[in-house]
Amino acid sequence: MVNVMFKKADMIIFVCILAAALAAAGIFCLFSKQGKEVVITVGGETYGSYPLDEDRSINVSTRYGVNKIVISDSTVFVASADCPNQLCVRQSPISRCGQSIVCLPHRLVVAISAGRPDVDATAG
């Protein structure tokens, strides 16, 4: 049992997981389109939503901490944050529907949504 490094069943499970990952990625890509609105939520509650086509920077200051979010050229990124791991700052800019940047220590999610064209996008 321990003399081989891997068995046939191991390769099957390996290939299955790779296939599942690719399938999930394919499905996500298929349904993603250029977004219209940036929605910022903190701890599950909406902090605010902003149009993606207007350049601006937003300082999200909550009891968890401060994140500076920048909308520029129809993409969104976190410019700076006082969270310990800085993972949100290192993420590349997002612009497509369903994409998101998450800052776990600050419970912050920056997400792109399709938005509703008839409603004023600025709220909260």
């Binding site: 321990v2 191991d10 990952a21 939520t41 599950g44 999610v109």
Partner: protein, 180 residues
């Protein structure tokens, strides 16, 4: 530590479990030193080698204990409380999945590790979705599953190499039954 007898008494088991926990903590620390900065959340899961090895040697309770203690201690020492929550959800789920698969007797450590890494990532994302009250984190699933499969393969081969070097003879349920 010798594996010369067909069974181990309780004190040896406890001592060896303690050693495995220490080793798992060191592996966690080594892993925390180098991070793949481009995509957050991707890691090798080296400490899983210790849990998987214990699963082979002593069974579910010991592997679960070491994994849970390792995640708590590692996050207290060089992690965060939120990290501990995600790690615990993923870690417990992954040990249970590996335990279920080991019982089928069809897989080597490599397959168990690959499946365990997928379970870990899914568990972690479920915890994150719960904590953030947002299902958007599942967008991350393809990336994590893909990288996790390769990382799991690597750590699984490492564990398999250890088992082979020690010439442990395991029965159908994966329990250590004696030295070949």
């Amino acid at each position: 530590m010798t594996f010369s007898k067909g069974y181990l008494d309780m004190s040896k088991k406890v001592a060896f479990t303690g050693l495995a926990l220490a080793l798992a903590l060191v592996l966690s620390y080594v892993e925390s030193l180098f991070s793949f900065s481009a995509i957050p959340g991707i890691k090798l899961g080296l400490a899983n080698i210790a849990a998987l090895f214990l699963l082979y040697c002593f069974g579910l309770p010991y592997a679960l204990l070491v994994n849970v203690l390792r995640i708590i201690l590692a996050n207290l020492l060089f992690g965060s409380l939120t990290g501990m929550f995600y790690g615990l959800t993923g870690g417990i789920l992954s040990v249970f999945v590996m335990w279920l698969l080991i019982r089928t007797g069809r897989f080597s450590a490599t397959g168990l590790s690959v499946a365990g890494s997928a379970a870990h990532n899914i568990g972690q994302l479920c915890a994150a979705a719960l904590l953030l009250s947002s299902a958007r984190v599942f967008w991350y699933l393809p990336v994590l599953l893909f990288s996790g499969a390769f990382a799991g393969f690597f750590t699984g081969v490492c564990c398999q190499a250890v088992l082979r070097t020690l010439k442990l003879n395991t029965n159908q349920a994966g329990r250590y039954v004696g030295r070949k």
